[in-house]
C-alpha cells in the first residue's frame, strides 16, 4: 500500500446499491443553504462598524495621540521597537532557538520618526516656523535628537500613566477640551514642541492618513500598513475593541463586532492565550502558532496516529449511524 493509505481490514463493498440522485441532492442543498443564508440576512443583516481615523483619534484622545506621536519620534513605540518585518530595532519573538521573525528579515521597512512624523510635517506648506523646526531637528546629531524627543515624551508618558491608574494628572500636560490641543511644558525639548503641535493640527485636519498612505510618493496605493501601525501604537483602536469584546483576554479572536457570531472555529487558537505559559509570555504568539501548527498537522494525520485512529471503533457512535445496515444484516 502507498504512504497515504493506512492498512486496515476494510473490504470493498460487494453488497446492494440503492438509487441515489447526487445532482438533485446538490441542487436541493444549494437551494436550502441559499434560502438559509437569505433568511439569516433578512433576520440579522451583518455588521459594518465604521473605521476609526487618525483625525478622530487626535480629536477624541488628544493626549494619547500626542504620546504616541512623541514615542514614534523618539523610536520607543511598539512599532519602532518591533523588529522584523518593519525594522532592526528588535529581534522579535522566539521559541527556544527558533527565531523565524528575525530570520525572515525586514521586508516592509518603517522608520517611525521619519515615516510617521518628519515626512508628513515636511508636506505642510506655508509654515516657516514649522519648516525651520524640522530643519533644525534633522540637522542635529542623533544624541541631541534623542534628548529633545525624550524630554517631550516624558511628561506625556507620566500623564498617560496617571490617566490609566486614575491618579492626579500632572500639570506639565494640559488639554484644551474645545480644540483638543495638547500643551506640554517640557524644558529641553528644542524644536520638538513646535513639530508635535503641527502634527496634531495636521492629524485633526485629516491630512495625516492620506499622507501616511501615499508617503512613498506613489499616487495609487492599497497598502495601509503605516496608518494602521501608527493607530495601533495609540489607545483608540484598543479602547473601541474592549467595548466590543475583541481584546485578546476577552477571547476576541473568536468574536465579531456587535452581537453577531464570529469565528467559533478559532476557539483553540484563542484558548491558549488565556492559559500559562502563553498568557504571560513575551513570545506568546510564536508559541501559540507552533502549538497550533503541531496540532493542525496532527489533525491532517489522524488516520495515521495510533490510538486516535482506533477511537471511532472503541466509542461506537458508528452503530447509531449505520443502525439500519446492521439491523438488515
Amino acid at each position: 500500500m502507498s504512504f497515504l493509505r493506512p492498512k486496515d481490514d476494510t473490504q470493498p463493498w460487494k453488497g446492494r446499491y440503492q438509487p441515489y440522485d447526487l445532482i438533485k441532492e446538490l441542487c436541493i442543498a444549494v437551494g436550502v443553504i441559499g434560502l438559509l443564508a437569505v433568511a439569516l440576512t433578512v433576520l440579522f443583516s451583518s455588521p459594518d462598524d465604521k473605521s476609526s481615523t487618525i483625525s478622530q483619534w487626535s480629536h477624541e484622545l488628544p493626549a494619547d495621540f500626542a504620546t504616541a506621536a512623541a514615542k514614534e519620534l523618539d523610536e520607543t513605540s511598539d512599532t519602532a521597537a518591533y523588529g522584523p518585518p518593519y525594522n532592526h530595532n528588535g529581534e522579535g519573538q522566539h521559541a527556544a532557538f527558533l527565531y523565524p521573525q528575525k530570520w525572515l528579515g525586514v521586508s516592509h521597512p518603517i522608520n517611525t520618526a521619519a515615516d510617521f512624523v518628519i515626512k508628513p510635517l515636511e508636506t505642510v506648506p506655508n509654515d516657516a516656523a514649522l519648516q525651520s523646526a524640522v530643519a533644525e531637528y534633522k540637522a542635529a546629531p542623533e544624541k541631541q535628537k534623542k534628548e529633545w524627543s525624550e524630554a517631550y515624551a516624558k511628561p506625556l508618558e507620566e500623564y498617560s500613566t496617571a490617566v490609566e491608574e486614575k491618579k492626579t494628572l500632572p500639570s506639565t500636560v494640559s488639554v484644551d477640551p474645545s480644540t483638543g490641543t495638547v500643551t506640554v511644558k517640557a524644558s529641553g525639548a528644542g524644536p520638538v514642541g513646535t513639530m508635535m503641535t503641527s502634527l496634531q493640527s495636521l492629524a485633526q485636519s485629516g491630512g495625516l492618513e492620506g499622507g501616511l498612505v501615499t508617503s512613498s510618493g506613489q499616487f495609487f496605493q492599497t497598502d495601509y500598513t503605516k496608518p494602521l501601525l501608527f493607530m495601533a501604537d495609540g489607545g483608540l483602536l484598543a479602547k473601541r475593541a474592549e467595548g466590543l469584546h475583541l481584546l485578546g483576554e476577552q477571547w476576541g479572536m473568536m468574536n465579531e463586532t456587535g452581537s453577531f457570531p464570529g469565528q467559533p472555529w478559532l476557539w483553540l487558537y484563542a484558548l491558549w492565550y488565556q492559559v500559562e505559559p502563553f498568557k504571560s509570555s513575551e513570545n506568546a504568539d510564536v508559541l501559540v502558532m507552533l502549538v497550533m501548527g503541531v496540532l493542525s498537522l496532527a489533525f491532517v494525520c489522524i488516520p495515521f496516529i495510533p490510538g486516535i485512529n482506533r477511537l471511532p471503533r472503541k466509542i461506537p457512535i458508528y452503530k447509531l449511524i449505520w443502525r439500519e445496515h446492521y439491523r438488515a444484516s
Binding site: 453488497g15 476577552q250 452581537s259 447509531l320
Partner: protein, 63 residues
C-alpha cells in the same frame, strides 16, 4: 447610506457567557451548541427512503 433595517438588531455590544477562564459571546455559544445539536440530530433522525433500500437489499434494485 441606505440600508434596510434587520428584523433583529445585533448591532449592540455582545452578552457573554463566563465560566472560569472561559469567556465566550452568546452568539458563539449558540453556534457551537447548535453544531452539537445538529450533529446528534443528524445521526439519530431516520433518513428517508428506507423502503427503497429494503427493496434494493431484497434484490429489487441493482446488485
Amino acid at each position: 447610506m441606505s440600508m434596510a433595517a434587520a428584523i433583529v438588531n445585533l448591532n449592540h455590544p455582545a452578552h457573554t457567557v463566563d465560566w472560569g477562564f472561559i469567556h465566550l459571546s452568546v452568539a458563539n455559544v449558540v453556534v457551537i451548541g447548535l453544531m452539537f445539536v445538529v450533529f446528534f440530530a443528524a445521526i439519530l433522525l431516520p433518513f428517508p427512503g428506507a423502503a427503497e433500500r429494503a427493496a434494493a437489499r431484497r434484490g429489487g434494485g441493482a446488485s
